[in-house]
Amino acid sequence: MTILVIAEHDNAELKPATLNTLAAAQQIGGDIELLVAGFNCQAVADSAAGIPGVTKVLLADNAAYEHELAENISKLIVALVSGHSHILASATTNGKNYLPRVAALLDVNQLSDVIAIESADTFQRPIYAGNAIATVKTDDVVKLLTIRGTAFDAVVDTGGSAAIETVSEVCDNGNVRFIKEELAKSDRPELTTAGVIVAGGRGMGNAENFDMLYELADKLGGAVGASRAAVDAGFVPNDLQIGQTGKVVAPDLYIAVGISGAIQHLAGMKDSKVIVAINKDEEAPIFSVADYGLVADLFDALPELSTQI
């Protein structure tokens, strides 16, 4: 049994989500090949080759793969599928974008957001915003899964020495063009891997007030997140959204400030180890999942909390 894992990267660095997906692949068992598809991404392949447990790194280095366009990546993966029992990608916007295309081209289904491996063909995944967990068995010839990173502990990433094999296959659809990318630049940890997250909701009132959350997050070495309400109101950009359709996080400490706790938001954070909620409405649903709830005006509580930490 050989599993093909698709690496998540930005052509310069391997993204941590790949290490969680590799952990899922190890639980399934068998040889693991890691595909690095990108442009000028030799450095990514080199670091990928150092991950113990990776049998072989496949490097497809071509301008057609620079922006991970689903049209091109999916055809590349289809060209490489022969001999593989499973194809795993991270449940990121990238993986969610190309893997269903691969599935359709192979005439198989895909299991999204897998959170547990029961056997080589049986898996668990959340449905209904995580309000139910489905156990599903697939009889498809090739099993395609996207893996929810927070459900699997990352594998160690150094000490191995896998061979790197170059893939010369070029798939370029031509009916889609990359125009531009506006990516957030931040020295803070990534939301999905941060140990501490301070998240704000509509109760923050405006964009400027989020500075209080950044101050607290910086003291804790954490990241800042937000509810959909705060993103919709324009307080913060979309990449901070946590919830059913945003990012799913599970830090050691989650501090929810001015977030009421709609089920769609809870779906994205309720697996956090310790949850703190600060809200002036004592009936807010967020308190039903919080280990420590503080009913208070956030504009009093936040500065006080920042001074004490």
Partner: protein, 249 residues
């Protein structure tokens, strides 16, 4: 140009689901159903393109038993022109849904298919991408802004790190995210008018599609319960607990 909008009947997003006592599935008996919220955004976008004079006709399609005609009528009341129900009692998987939609696309030849990025029941986020692959069309997923210009559509995608802008040649598939627009409410006169708009019923067999799902649902369980904790009286007490009780500070 013609626009096709697939819509799905799902549990109302405000309703909390419960798992059946035999763990075979979630319990949807007597539960309020509605159009999937992402599908509403897709309908709204198509209607706006029609109002802007870019689209000539908006066709809605839904897969399911007769009850999904309710959601098709809702879309017609919001401004779509006609509906198609693909009649099946089988709960369709994403791949089968994509095959059925492909057959409709081949019959109707729309230039643009606009659909929700995921349904809030199975949370799969697959059907649009699968449809695009089966047709070999370009795709724009997680779309929060779009503009159509003659034979192209420029789309802005909400990706993990921020925003990505792509240009797709038409015909193309666009799957929409939350911030693309705020869907309107249907007015009473439009709800009445929608009852007279055409709604065709087709079967998977008529579309030449065989439903063949190799994924079986083994069990459905409630998630591990998270107990509500305690209320603290002050920031002092909170910091003390975080430091000494759970030691996360």
């Amino acid at each position: 140009m013609k626009i096709l909008v697939p819509v799905k009947r799902v549990i109302d997003y405000n309703v909390k689901v419960h798992v059946k006592s035999d763990n075979s599935d979630v319990d949807l008996a007597n539960v309020k159903m509605a159009m999937n919220p992402f599908c509403e955004i897709a309908v709204e976008q198509a209607v706006r393109l029609k109002e802007a004079g870019i689209a000539s006709e908006v066709i809605v399609v839904s897969i399911g038993d007769k009850s999904c005609q309710e959601q098709i009528r809702t879309a017609l009341a919001l401004g779509a022109d006609r509906g198609i129900q693909i009649d099946t009692d089988t709960v369709t998987d994403s791949l089968s849904a994509a095959k059925l939609l492909k057959a409709v696309v081949q019959e109707e030849q729309p230039q643009l298919v606009i659909m929700g990025k995921q349904s809030i029941d199975t949370d799969n986020n697959q059907a649009g991408q699968m449809l695009a692959a089966l047709l070999d069309y370009p795709q724009g997923t997680f779309v929060s802004d779009m503009s159509v210009e003659s034979d192209k559509v420029q789309i802005v995608r909400e990706v993990d790190g921020g925003l990505q802008t792509l240009e797709l040649d038409l015909p193309a598939i666009v799957t929409v995210d939350l911030r693309l627009n705020d869907p309107r409410y249907a007015s009473l006169p439009n709800i009445m008018k929608a009852k007279r708009k055409p709604l065709a019923v087709k079967t998977p067999a008529e579309l030449g599609v065989e439903l063949n799902n190799k994924v079986t649902l083994v069990a459905v369980n409630p998630p591990a319960d998270r107990q509500a904790g305690i209320k603290v009286a002050s920031v002092d007490e909170l910091v003390e607990k975080l430091k000494n009780e759970v030691k996360v500070l």
